[in-house]
C-alpha cells in the first residue's frame, strides 16, 4: 500500500512537471524559410528593417538580442546544433573574438565586396561592417579655444591637466582606440599616451559616453572622448536638457589631415554552423543595399558603411570627415595588449 501511494505521488509530481514544461518547448523546426539572428543591436528601427527583408524575400526573421560576449558564449555552447545563422555585433573587437573562436564561415559575394569598403570588412569575408561610428573629441568652448585640440595625441598633452573625462579602460571603444594606436605607433608610444591621458583625468573613469558629454556641459571637465552617435542622439533629441548640453559642446573629428579619425563598426557574419546559409547570405546582401544601409545606420545615428545617402540631420550638421584607413580587424589583434597597457598606466 505504501509503495503504491509513493509511486502515485511520484507519478503526480512527474505529471505536474511535464505539464509545466510541455508548453515551454520550442515549436518543431519549421519547414518555412526562416533566418535566425543573434544580435547585440536592439534598436526599434531594426525591426522595420527586418520586416522589410521579410516582405522582400518571404524569409521570416527570428531573433535573440543580448550582449555580444554572452551571445557568443551561447553559440559556442550550442555547438553544431546552434540555430544561429547570423551574428550581428557592435565593435570590430567583438567580431575579431568571434572570428578567433572559429564561429564564422566565409561569405563570397561580389555585391558585398563592391559595396563595403575593404577596411571595414574581413579580408576573407568572415564578417562585414554595415555602419560606422567615429570616436570624437568634445570640449567646453568656454574653457578651451577652438583648434587647440586636433589629434588624439593632444589628449595626453600636459596643458590639459585635470580636464579629461573618459569612461573606463575595460570599455571596448577605448580598447579598440588604443588597439589602433598600438597598430599605428607601437606599444611604447601607446603606453606613453595612455599614461599622459591618465595624468590629465578630471575624475576617475565612470559612466557611459553620454555621461562624459553631460559632465563637460556641467563644467566638471573640459574635454571628453565619446562616440559620434551619442552626440548625434542628443542633437536629434526633443528634450530641452539635451539641447542645452549640445549648445555647450564643441566637437572635433581628430587627426584630420593625418591618419584620419578612428572609426569602429557594427558588423555581421554568417556562422559556420548556420542551418540556413543561403538565407544568411541574402540577408547580408540586403543589409548592404541603399535602403537597408540608411535604416541600419539611422537606428543608432551611425554612418552607413556603403556609399548610401545619410538621412540624419545631426550627422549632416556634423559634416563629412576623413576616417582612419586602418583595417578594423587590427583593433582586435591588439585588444589584449591594449588592456594590459591600460592596466599598467593605471587607467581604471
Amino acid at each position: 500500500m505504501q509503495r503504491k501511494s509513493v509511486v502515485t505521488a511520484l507519478a503526480v509530481i512527474a505529471a505536474t512537471v511535464t505539464v509545466l514544461i510541455a508548453p515551454l518547448s520550442p515549436a518543431p523546426a519549421a519547414e518555412e524559410p526562416v533566418l535566425n539572428l543573434y544580435s547585440s543591436r536592439h534598436y526599434q528601427t531594426d525591426e522595420s528593417l527586418y520586416e522589410d527583408f521579410t516582405k522582400a524575400t518571404g524569409i521570416e526573421i527570428r531573433r535573440i538580442e543580448g550582449k555580444g560576449d554572452e551571445l557568443m558564449r551561447r553559440i559556442l555552447a550550442e555547438g553544431g546544433n546552434s540555430p544561429a545563422d547570423v551574428f550581428i555585433t557592435v565593435d570590430a573587437g567583438n567580431l575579431w573574438r568571434a572570428e578567433q573562436a572559429g564561429l564564422f564561415a566565409p561569405v563570397e559575394s561580389a555585391l558585398l565586396e563592391e559595396r563595403i569598403p575593404s577596411n571595414l570588412r574581413h579580408p576573407d569575408g568572415l564578417w562585414f561592417g554595415f555602419s560606422t561610428r567615429a570616436r570624437m573629441i568634445f570640449y567646453d568652448p568656454r574653457r578651451i579655444d577652438a583648434g587647440a585640440l586636433e589629434r588624439y595625441a593632444d589628449l595626453a598633452d600636459s596643458r590639459w591637466r585635470g580636464e579629461v573625462c573618459i569612461r573606463s579602460s575595460g570599455n571596448i571603444y577605448n580598447l579598440s582606440l588604443l588597439g589602433a594606436l598600438i597598430a599605428h605607433d607601437g606599444v611604447g608610444q601607446a603606453e606613453t599616451w595612455a599614461s599622459g591621458v591618465v595624468a590629465n583625468f578630471a575624475r576617475q573613469p565612470q559612466g557611459g559616453d553620454t555621461d562624459q558629454l553631460r559632465a563637460v556641459a556641467a563644467g566638471e571637465c573640459g574635454i571628453a572622448l565619446a562616440n559620434s552617435y551619442y552626440f548625434a542622439r542628443l542633437m536629434n533629441s526633443a528634450d530641452e536638457a539635451d539641447q542645452a548640453v549640445v549648445a555647450r559642446l564643441g566637437w572635433v573629428f581628430p587627426d584630420q589631415g593625418g591618419q584620419g579619425t578612428h572609426v569602429n563598426i557594427s558588423g555581421a557574419g554568417v556562422l559556420e554552423t548556420a542551418p540556413h546559409p543561403e538565407a544568411a547570405r541574402r540577408f547580408l546582401e540586403y543589409l548592404a543595399s541603399d535602403r537597408a544601409q540608411t535604416l541600419f545606420a539611422l537606428g543608432n545615428n551611425e554612418y552607413p558603411a556603403a556609399a548610401a545617402p545619410i538621412e540624419n540631420p545631426a550627422l549632416q550638421t556634423m559634416g563629412p570627415f576623413e576616417m582612419d584607413s586602418l583595417n578594423v580587424s587590427r583593433f582586435g589583434e591588439h585588444q589584449a595588449e591594449a588592456q594590459q597597457v591600460f592596466d599598467r598606466a593605471g587607467w581604471r
Binding site: A9, I13, P28
Partner: protein, 556 residues
C-alpha cells in the same frame, strides 16, 4: 520510516536536489580543467580589490538593512503612531524594485549633470569644480542602493518575530523596571535574533550575487570579476576559481550564523494579544513616523516618482501592445517557475524530513547553493550540460525520425526555468523547512498509527498545515524571477523578451528615460505579490490555526 528500506520518495528527493545543483556543480567542476593563464593575471592585479570591495559591500549592506529594517518593524509591530497602518505594508514595497533600477534612477538624479547638482549650482552660482558632492557611482552608493531595496527582508522577518513575541514577557520586563527602550534592547531584540539574522542573510546573499548595480557603478567585486573572467577573458577556470571563492564567502557567512546561534533555541508562543503596548504622542510620534517614512520614501516613493516623471516626459516609444506581450512573458516565467519551485522544494524538504541520511542532508544543502551565484554564471552552468544533452537528443531523434528536431531543451523556456530553479530554490526550501519544523514528530506518528501512509500524511496532515509556508515560498520566487535579468538575457528563446530585458536594453544603450517605462512596469507588476507576501508573513498567530509562513534561513 527511517527503516532499512529506503523510501522511493527520498530517492526522488535526492535526485531532484542533485538535478537542481547541476549548474552550480558544472561551474565548480571547471576548477579541475586546465586554465588559459588568466588566473595569475587576476590574482596579481585585481583579486585584492575583489576581496576588499566584496567584504566592504557585505558589511555595509548588512548594517544598512538592519538599520533600515528593524526600527520600522519594531515600531509597526508594537507601537501606535500616525501612519502606522500605512507603513505596515508600505515598508515592504521596495522589494518590488530591482536593485539595478534604483541604481539607474538615483544615478540620473544625483550625478553631476542631474537635477539635484544642477539645481545646487544654479542656486549658489558655483561651478562643478567648486564643491564636493558624494559620488553616487561608488562603493558607498552601491551599499545605499542595495540596502534600500533589500531591507524589506529584514523588515518582514523581524516584524513577524516581534508580532509573535509573547506580550506578557515584554510586560514582565517592564514591570521589573525596564524602560520601553531597555525592554526592546534587552528582551525583544535578543528574542528576535534568528529572524534578524535570517533576513540579513537573505539580503547579503543577494548582495553577493548582485551584478546589475555593481557593474553599473563600475565597482570591482567578485560578481563583476567572474563575469569579466568568463565573458571577456574567456577563461572558465579563472571564473570557477572566483566562484569557488564566492561560495566559500557564503559558507563562512552561514557558518558564522550557526556558530552565533550556537545551542540556543528560541521557543515562544504568541499570545495573540493585538493591543499595542506603546501609544506614541508628541515628538515621539513624529520620530516614529519619520523613522518609518525614510526607508519607504527613499526605497520606493522617490524612485517610483522619478521613474513616473521620466516615463511621462519621454518614455519608451515602443509602449503599446508590445508591453502586453512583455508583461505576459514576465508573468508566465514567474508563474511557471514559482509553481515548479514549490513542487520540487516540497519534495526535497519532505525527503529531508523523512530521511536523516548524510546523502539526503548534503543533497538538501547543495540544492540551495545557487542563490549566491550570479545569474549569468548559473546561465553558463545551465548551458553547458543542457546543450550537450540537446546534442545527444538531436542525434538520437535524427537517427530515429530522419530530421533534426532543433534544440529542445535550450531552444525553449526549459533552460531558463532550470536556471531560475537553480538560483532561487533555496527560498521555498527554507520556507518549507521552517514550516515542516513546526509539525512535531508526534503528529506524524499519530497519523501513521491511524493507518495513513507517508504520502497520505503529507497530503492530509502536512500540506494543510504548510499552506502558509507554501504561499510564502511561491511568492518569494515569483517576485525574484520578475526582477531577474542576467540569466534571462542569456537563455531566453527567439523573439521572447521580458520587462527586465526591455528596461535593460534601453538603459544599457544610455537611454534611461526610455527605459523608465519598462522599469516602472516591473515595479507595478511586483506590487501585488509583494503586498500579498507582506500579509502572509505578517499574519498574526491568533488569526488562523495554520502555522505562519515564516522564512528561516538555516543552512542550505
Amino acid at each position: 520510516m527511517a527503516g532499512t528500506r529506503i523510501s522511493p520518495l527520498v530517492v526522488a528527493a535526492v535526485a531532484a536536489a542533485a538535478l537542481v545543483a547541476v549548474p552550480v556543480i558544472t561551474v565548480a567542476a571547471h576548477l579541475f580543467l586546465p586554465g588559459d593563464g588568466a588566473w595569475s593575471h587576476i590574482a596579481s592585479t585585481v583579486l585584492p580589490d575583489y576581496v576588499r570591495n566584496s567584504l566592504l559591500l557585505v558589511i555595509g549592506t548588512g548594517v544598512g538593512v538592519l538599520l533600515l529594517g528593524v526600527p520600522g518593524a519594531w515600531l509597526v509591530a508594537t507601537c501606535e503612531f500616525p501612519g502606522r497602518r500605512l507603513f505596515e505594508w508600505a515598508l515592504v514595497l521596495p522589494l518590488a524594485v530591482p536593485a539595478y533600477v534604483i541604481a539607474y534612477v538615483y544615478t540620473d538624479f544625483l550625478q553631476v549633470a542631474g537635477p539635484v547638482q544642477t539645481g545646487l549650482r544654479e542656486l549658489t552660482g558655483w561651478s562643478a569644480r567648486d564643491y564636493w558632492f558624494p559620488p553616487i557611482r561608488s562603493l558607498g552608493g552601491a551599499i545605499a542602493m542595495l540596502s534600500l531595496v533589500l531591507y524589506p527582508y529584514v523588515y518582514l522577518l523581524s516584524r513577524a518575530a516581534f508580532i509573535q513575541q509573547s506580550r506578557s514577557l515584554l510586560e514582565a520586563s517592564r514591570s521589573l523596571g525596564c524602560t520601553p527602550w531597555q525592554s526592546f534592547r534587552r528582551v525583544a531584540l535578543p528574542m528576535a535574533r534568528p529572524a534578524l539574522v535570517a533576513g540579513t542573510m537573505l539580503a547579503l546573499m543577494e548582495t553577493l550575487a548582485d551584478f546589475g548595480t555593481v557593474s553599473y557603478f563600475g565597482i570591482p567585486v567578485f560578481t563583476t570579476g567572474i563575469y569579466r573572467a568568463w565573458f571577456s577573458l574567456g577563461d572558465g577556470v579563472a571564473a570557477a576559481k572566483l566562484s569557488a571563492m564566492l561560495l566559500a564567502f557564503v559558507l563562512i557567512l552561514l557558518t558564522a550564523e550557526r556558530w552565533n546561534r550556537g545551542a540556543m533555541r528560541f521557543h515562544q508562543r504568541g499570545d495573540g494579544d493585538n493591543s499595542r503596548t506603546h501609544v506614541l504622542t508628541g515628538w515621539r510620534a513624529v520620530g516614529a513616523t519619520t523613522t518609518c517614512a525614510l526607508p519607504f520614501v527613499f526605497g520606493f516613493a522617490l524612485p517610483a516618482l522619478l521613474l513616473l516623471l521620466m516615463a511621462v516626459d519621454a518614455g519608451d516609444s515602443a509602449f503599446g501592445p508590445r508591453y502586453l506581450t512583455l508583461v505576459g512573458n514576465t508573468l508566465l516565467l514567474a508563474g511557471i517557475t514559482a509553481l515548479a519551485a514549490a513542487v520540487i522544494a516540497l519534495l526535497i524538504a519532505y525527503g529531508n524530513r523523512l530521511s536523516q541520511t548524510p546523502t539526503m542532508r548534503i543533497a538538501h544543502r547543495v540544492a540551495g547553493l545557487g542563490y549566491a551565484i550570479p545569474g549569468s554564471i548559473i546561465a553558463v552552468g545551465v548551458l553547458i550540460p543542457l546543450t550537450a544533452l540537446d546534442g545527444a537528443l538531436a542525434d538520437w531523434l535524427t537517427a530515429q525520425f530522419g530530421r533534426p528536431p532543433g534544440l529542445i531543451l535550450t531552444g525553449g523556456l526549459i533552460g531558463l526555468v532550470y536556471a531560475y530553479l537553480a538560483r532561487f530554490l533555496v527560498m521555498p526550501l527554507n520556507a518549507f523547512d521552517a514550516g515542516l519544523a513546526r509539525i512535531t514528530p508526534s503528529m506524524d506518528a499519530a497519523s501513521r498509527s491511524l493507518g495513513e501512509t507517508a504520502v497520505g500524511t503529507l497530503r492530509r496532515v502536512h500540506v494543510p498545515m504548510l499552506k502558509g509556508s507554501l504561499l510564502t515560498g511561491v511568492l518569494l520566487v515569483f517576485v525574484e524571477v520578475m526582477k531577474e535579468l542576467p540569466a534571462t538575457m542569456i537563455l531566453r528563446p527567439f523573439d521572447f523578451d521580458t520587462l527586465a530585458v526591455q528596461a535593460h536594453n534601453l538603459a544599457a544603450d544610455e537611454r534611461l528615460s526610455e527605459a523608465a517605462t519598462a522599469a516602472l512596469a516591473i515595479v507595478a507588476a511586483g506590487l501585488a505579490p509583494v503586498l500579498l507576501l507582506s500579509r502572509q508573513i505578517g499574519r498574526r498567530p491568533a488569526a488562523s490555526a495554520a502555522p505562519r509562513g515564516r522564512v528561516r534561513l538555516s543552512s542550505p
